[in-house]
């Protein structure tokens, strides 16, 4: 198999943390490959998986659209390329988003997951928190969830809930698309990133056969 290239959308947000966690996951799985920052359309054509990092979803959405990256990202995901979005990344992947305070937002979204997200659903920064999560998909041990001005999934028409917090969906998976309301790139726990890297490896293997 060729070396894996996982792109980290590097427009705004915690790009370095996402790069380092993805590289750690690749190493731990003993996979040949690297995580690389991507900004431009031509770079997005050259990757096998994509991570949309945490940050400000309005900013990432607007600027991704400006560089012409949005269309290609959408096409590649629809062709089966695995993608993982964390916090702002989850909002980017959603079909609809609204804010608890100001209502519907006109922000640019990718419309990949048929979900509605409520932004800042737990409140402002003073209400940001850490909580232990149960994520059966990646094992029995609790996962340290870091929620920073985090969204929640209000409606879900496709995909499955990976984990919930007080019966609110905070992570979803649909095919090879993963979206989390929390920040696995900040927790130091590589299990979710490893799960994602495995999706990328499976995607490459399937493509190699066909």
């Amino acid at each position: 198999m060729k070396d894996i290239r996982i792109g980290i959308l590097s427009i705004q947000g915690d790009i370095e943390e996402s790069l380092s966690m993805t590289n750690r996951a690749l190493n731990e799985l003993a996979s040949k490959g690297t995580a690389v920052p991507v900004k431009y359309a031509e770079e997005i054509a050259n990757i096998d998986g994509l991570v949309l990092p945490g940050g400000e979803s309005t900013v990432i959405g607007t600027l991704a659209n400006l560089s012409g990256a949005t269309h290609l990202i959408k096409d590649r995901i629809q062709d089966g390329m695995p993608v993982m979005g964390t916090c702002a990344g989850m909002i980017m992947l959603a079909k609809r988003a609204y804010d608890r305070v100001v209502g519907e937002t006109k922000q640019q979204l990718l419309h990949i997951l048929d979900i509605t997200v409520e932004r800042n659903a737990f409140g402002r920064q003073n209400d940001s928190f850490e909580a232990e999560l149960n994520i059966p998909l990646i094992g029995k041990e609790h996962f340290a969830g870091v929620f920073i001005r985090a969204p929640i999934v209000k409606e879900m028409r496709n995909g499955e809930a990976i984990t919930t917090l007080n019966n609110k969906v905070v992570a979803v998976k649909h095919g090879s698309v993963i979206a989390t309301a929390f920040h696995p790139e900040l927790s130091g726990d590589t299990r979710l990133h490893k799960y994602f890297v495995q999706l990328v490896i499976d995607y490459l293997n399937t493509n190699a056969i066909s």
Partner: protein, 322 residues
Amino acid sequence: MISLVSTELQPKGVKLERMETVPVRKGTTLVKRGFAHMQKHGVIMDVTNVEQAQIAEDAGAVAVMVLDKLPYDVRKAGGVARTASIRVIEQIRDHITIPIMAKCRIGHLYEAKVLEVSGVDMIDESEVLTPADEEHHIWKWDFTTPFVNGAKNLGEALRRMEEGASMIRTKGEPGTGNVAEAVKHIRLVNDEIRKIKSIHESGDIQELVKAARELKVSFAYVEETARLGRLPIVNFAAGGIATPADAAFLMNLGCDGVFVGSGIFKAEDPAERARAVVIATTYHDDPKQVMEAQKMVDEKKSMLGMDTTKLDLRMQERGSEV
């Protein structure tokens, strides 16, 4: 990764609560520094009212910083500069979706407490306002809200971190439209980090202890900085940024993001300029993109720059020596 070196063992700002059935921890160092990390590669804009906040959000600012007067007007008005009206802060808070920050006076514990309960996302303990305490900065571990502090050298930056700051912005001369001081300080911090990094690589612990004493800061922070080869918390550039190229220049010197103050709303083309500064910050490593951003603004509409050597009021000097 987020560095958690020498975090206070039981900071008062941490709240253990139960959210319905789940125990949660609010105000932890990871959550506070994590918030600062989410602002990276972005532009934080000074605003004084809802209209300006809306322009900032539309232009792609990652957050707004609310203050009563822009630094340029603080210079002109003189007198004592205090935190913004709570009413204005609330109006802006309820109008935009991006985070909202507000400035309090250095050492003014109570202005900070008021800002915390007003629900701002970050407090800037700022030399742009008139300092309230000549000897002390606020002990920030007692707050659930994260803080950003100014610094003009490595010692100052690490001392603010020791007090619990989650973000540093290098000091410049705000309100001058002159980027020279911001450049000087980011270069100084970089040089000092390079120096301790090379000591660390040589394995000379005694020399590193000596460096910590000279910097007037705990050894743990110096060692962590030397090991990482960068500040352990996020470092933004600030003070005097007036054009897209200014922002790109500072990003290329290794900043994690930029603060833009008077440069936007004291120019005659604030909406275009705000957008252009955001684009130049994101694509700072690509001169072609920065040129496109420069094209969006007109130099005749830039704020007038000031010679920082002849200033009556040097804001970067304000704040205690330790």
